[in-house]
Symmetry: C2
Subunit: 225 residues, 2 copies
């Protein structure tokens, strides 16, 4: 997890008040974008992948707030894509370079297509007309999404996600944390786990079951310790 | 990994000979599709996710054969999508059901969009005009792709992927194996690891480094053993 994770947190939305007193239209305010093409590009790929995971989670758990986050990330990704395109186009000085740079734009478009597909999934949650089969399909896929409640007795408590490195140690990637009434989406490596946190993770069924045992306090040693 | 993994293996392509002696046009032959809506749907989701992983691998390693596999899976997914749509449409008996079934078709379209994006990435490999930056971006993403060579001394040798459960134990999902001159795409859980196999896996950098140490024979015990 790199420094641009934090940039996403700086996105603030402004509620615009119109003359007639009506409010609700939102504008983007102070979006920071990485400076060079590579960092923008990496941020785009990470964002799109997070969006897909969050979108499936939102569908599985019928979580509207999570669906809204996906739609915000979709807008953020559009801004990244615009910035990438401007910088990439500017860099071409001859035919060979132009052809290679076109491959960057093609890949950016694929990433954008994936993010749009995630956005469409998120919209389904807001429409509230999901077929029950959809839940089963997400549950039974090779990679699925799981909810894990952290018991106060768990060895996870008080450690940061970097210390825990759950991706390597359990095969589960944490995509969001529910703490009381608050969501933490795409938590940082210095995010600490608290008792009663609900971790939302992506992984195989076996990996999620394994993390569940650790979170319940039934397994008291992390692998590689 | 379920029973429909194997169905994919049954896809055979037929080379059609035309009157003028020219060959090369391929047709689908004997594609088996799961029988019920849920199984088709699960297979679609798994296939699209595999396609994305394989597409990034193909781009990273400039592997044309892998890119071709992605394009074949794209056609397979179109067939699945068609079968899903027919069955889903047939199931609607009233307005409420029709609305819910529409959500199935929407999700299927999102999955199809993702698979098309993967197909577009794969086509870039065949066009051979990739910018060097693309490699860096895939390498530096949160989830990346890695190549791991299995030493004859490694504890991986002689075990099946089910026994090893690398997804849980190392956080790496194996998406392909290179054995001599042959590729095994989307290996089954009963696929055995042989000495000198090259495993292509998706995971974080740390997870891939960890698997590399196991594959080199430097780590002699699997976690959870």
């Amino acid at each position: 997890m790199g420094e641009f994770k934090r940039l996403r947190r700086k996105i603030n939305k402004k509620t615009v008040k119109f003359k007639d007193g009506e409010a609700g239209v939102e504008e983007w305010d102070e979006v920071e974008v990485p400076r060079n093409v590579k960092d923008i590009f990496v941020e785009m790929k990470n964002t799109a992948e997070l969006m897909v995971d969050l979108a499936y989670s939102a569908v599985l758990f019928r979580e509207k707030e999570m669906a809204e986050e996906v739609l915000e990330l979709e807008e953020y990704l559009d801004i990244l894509n615009y910035n990438l395109t401007v910088r990439a186009v500017l860099a071409a000085r001859n035919m060979k370079e132009a052809e290679q740079i076109t491959s960057i734009l093609q890949m950016a478009r694929s990433i954008d297509d994936i993010s749009n597909a995630a956005g469409d999934l998120a919209k389904m949650v807001l429409e509230e007309k999901l077929h029950p089969l959809i839940t089963e399909v997400i549950m039974e896929s090779e990679e699925t999404i799981g909810k894990v409640v952290v018991s106060p007795e768990s060895i996870l408590v008080g450690k940061t996600l970097e210390e825990l490195d759950l991706a390597t140690n359990t095969g589960v990637r944490i995509i969001a944390i529910r703490r009381g009434k608050r969501w933490i989406f795409d938590p940082d490596e210095d995010t600490k786990v608290f008792p009663n946190d609900i971790l939302i993770g992506r992984g195989t069924r076996t990996a999620l079951d394994y993390l569940k045992e650790i979170a319940r306090g039934n397994i008291k040693v992390m692998p590689n310790e």
